[in-house]
């Protein structure tokens, strides 16, 4: 066995997987990766199950060091500078750290969460089938809390398999799509139109529980109290102050504010990767379209193994990386292409 040691890490970084399902009826939060596609891509690169546990790294930087042997990892998600022992590494590729080598991830640019998957996956004791950290409930494994410097993972020794890259489709851009409801009848037509026509920004106070939105105040038709009912990932509730909150992975399983709309499954990860302060809009789609997109999204995750390519065909050099990755080009999470910094062959 090798070890991967967390040498340094910013806040909002934790072990996450596909989430904890089956006990929402007891108030047990689902949790899991904020961007399921990026988690799946990173895992697929190192031969893991797409929803296996990986490190979710928040917007700040992090460094990891291999000990007691080599460790093979893969990185996907929000773009940032990545290097191993000072040598640049592209996103959406696997890379092997030799014993003693350090992997360095810079600040996220134009996104929030980057996933570090480890060959053989992170090991721990699952609760309801999941290692995902839910700090509030003290759940998660091997550390039931955000990661800290000095934490370490006992991992499989690197297999020596050839390094891979994964070709992801061009990311969807444009508005975040929603299905109206379940309580859109708690708002009049003018306020529903205001919700759909306005420019929104994610507040800096947002976290894995919810994204607070800044924009015009949405008025309720009958006040802001409803009798608590169930919530889903992407529920958009409107509390008394009229500022919508999109419920994310660490949401409470029930809530007592009217929910004007729900982000479609295919766009939840895209919203999760929208950085604080970046403007975006919502767009209502039909249930048929939303379900079609959900099926396509599931199919995309299923197809990831077919999208693996040898990384030998990529001539990685600093110019290629800089073109895709350099600061100074304003990176916009809503702008197609900025997520995909892997050099094309």
């Amino acid at each position: 066995m090798s070890r991967l040691v967390v040498a340094s890490i910013g806040p909002a970084s934790s072990v996450q997987d596909g989430g904890r399902h089956g006990a929402q009826r007891y108030g047990l939060t689902v949790s899991g990766a904020m961007d399921r596609l990026a988690l799946a891509a990173a895992n697929t690169l190192v031969g893991n199950d797409p929803s296996a546990a990986a490190v979710e790294i928040g917007p700040f930087g992090a460094t990891f060091t291999a000990r007691d042997g080599a460790v093979r990892v893969a990185i996907a998600g929000a773009p940032r500078n990545v290097d191993v022992a000072g040598k640049p590494v592209a996103l959406d590729t696997s890379v092997t750290l030799k014993d003693g080598e350090t992997l360095t991830l810079g600040f996220a640019r134009g996104g929030a969460f980057t996933y570090l998957a480890i060959e053989g996956a992170i090991k721990g004791e699952p609760v309801f089938g999941s290692l995902a950290v839910n700090a509030r409930a003290g759940l998660g494994s091997p550390y039931p809390r955000p990661l800290q410097a000095g934490d370490e993972f006992t991992v499989d020794a690197a297999s020596g398999a050839p390094e891979l890259r994964i070709e992801l489709p061009k990311p969807v851009s444009g508005p975040i799509r929603v299905v109206m409801g379940p309580q859109d009848d708690e708002f009049d037509d003018a306020n529903k139109a205001l919700f759909l026509s306005s420019e929104w920004k994610i507040s800096a106070t947002s976290d894995r529980m919810g994204y607070r939105l800044e924009g015009p105040a949405i008025q309720h038709l009958h006040g802001h109290n409803i009798v608590s009912d169930g919530t889903v990932n992407g529920s958009i509730q409107v509390p008394g102050n009229g500022a919508p909150i999109v419920l994310m992975m660490d949401r409470g399983t029930s809530g007592g504010y009217p929910k004007i709309a729900t982000v479609i499954t295919a766009d939840v990860g895209r919203l999760a990767q929208t950085s604080a302060g970046t403007a975006f809009r919502f767009k209502a789609v039909t249930m048929a379209e939303a379900q079609d997109e959900a099926r396509k999204f599931a199919q995309l995750i299923k197809s990831l193994p077919d999208r693996l390519r040898s990384s030998d065909t990529v001539e990685l050099n600093i110019e290629v990386l800089s073109d895709a990755n350099v600061a100074g080009h304003a990176v916009n999470a809503m702008d197609a292409g900025t997520w995909q910094v892997t050099a094309e062959p």
Binding site: G230, M287, Q291, A294
Partner: protein, 243 residues
């Protein structure tokens, strides 16, 4: 019962969940229907349903749109919900010990003042109630109870507290609650129970189920400490009144 309630409504909750709503208010008859539908779905094995979440007045059904579409599922759900459903199994009855007032119930005196009575009287009214677990939600094991004495109905605090301790026994609006983990809350804190409604490595992990009945009894603060240690060791210290 089915005759007195309007037919349920289907409310889309995104592309992978649907809410079957029986009522817009807190209503034990609607809650019975929610739990009966929940039970019926557990045995109906409808393709694509992954998880159901009963609440006071609605059942949230999570499903996989890759296996069943909204329209097809909705039709099946309404067909089952519209039938006269057998009542859920006989409710379990729990007696829950509570250390009232003092550091464990910091709002008890203020609640008594607001209702022009004494803390002892508030405790007597709270202990006198026969409650029903209408739903569990928000955080693990947080049990929302119906059946609060009408004389104890009072608005929630103007500003919610960011921290209330594990085991808090509180009232808010027309509801009573048993809180398991420390959490933010705008309810009025009457006391604290050593009972864990959720304990990770205990069997069962979750003590209460929607539909269970609950009564409270007062214990002194010294007994609280003793029972708290027993509970921490994994003992179930809530008493079964129906066993």
């Amino acid at each position: 019962m089915a005759e007195t309630l309007p037919p349920p409504r289907l409310l889309p909750s995104g592309d992978s969940a649907v809410t079957v709503e029986f009522s817009r208010t807190i209503d034990d008859a609607a809650n019975e229907r929610v739990l009966a539908l929940d039970k019926a779905l557990a045995t109906a094995s409808i393709e694509g349903i992954s998880e159901t979440i009963p609440t006071y007045r609605s059942l949230l059904v999570h499903y996989d749109p890759g296996r069943i579409g909204f329209d097809a599922l909705g039709e099946k759900l309404l067909a089952i919900a519209g039938q006269p459903l057998p009542p859920t199994t006989k409710a379990r009855r729990w007696r829950i010990p509570v250390a009232y007032g003092g550091e464990h119930g910091i709002d008890l005196e203020d609640v008594a003042k607001a209702l022009n009575t004494t803390p002892d009287d508030i405790v007597a009214r709270h202990v006198g109630g026969d409650y029903r677990v209408a739903m569990i939600g928000f955080t693990p094991g947080w049990s929302y109870l119906s059946g609060l004495d009408k004389s104890l109905h009072m608005s929630r605090r103007q500003s919610p507290r960011l921290f209330t301790p594990a085991g808090t026994i509180s009232i808010g609006g027309i509801q009573a609650g048993i809180q398991c983990l420390a959490a933010p809350s705008g309810w009025h804190l009457l006391g604290r129970t050593p009972v864990r409604t959720y304990q990770l490595h205990r069997n069962p992990t979750f003590l209460t189920e929607p539909g269970d009945r609950v009564t409270f009894f007062a214990i002194d603060h010294k007994t609280f400490e003793e029972l708290d240690r027993a509970a921490e060791a994994g003992e179930i210290i809530a008493e079964r009144a129906d066993a």
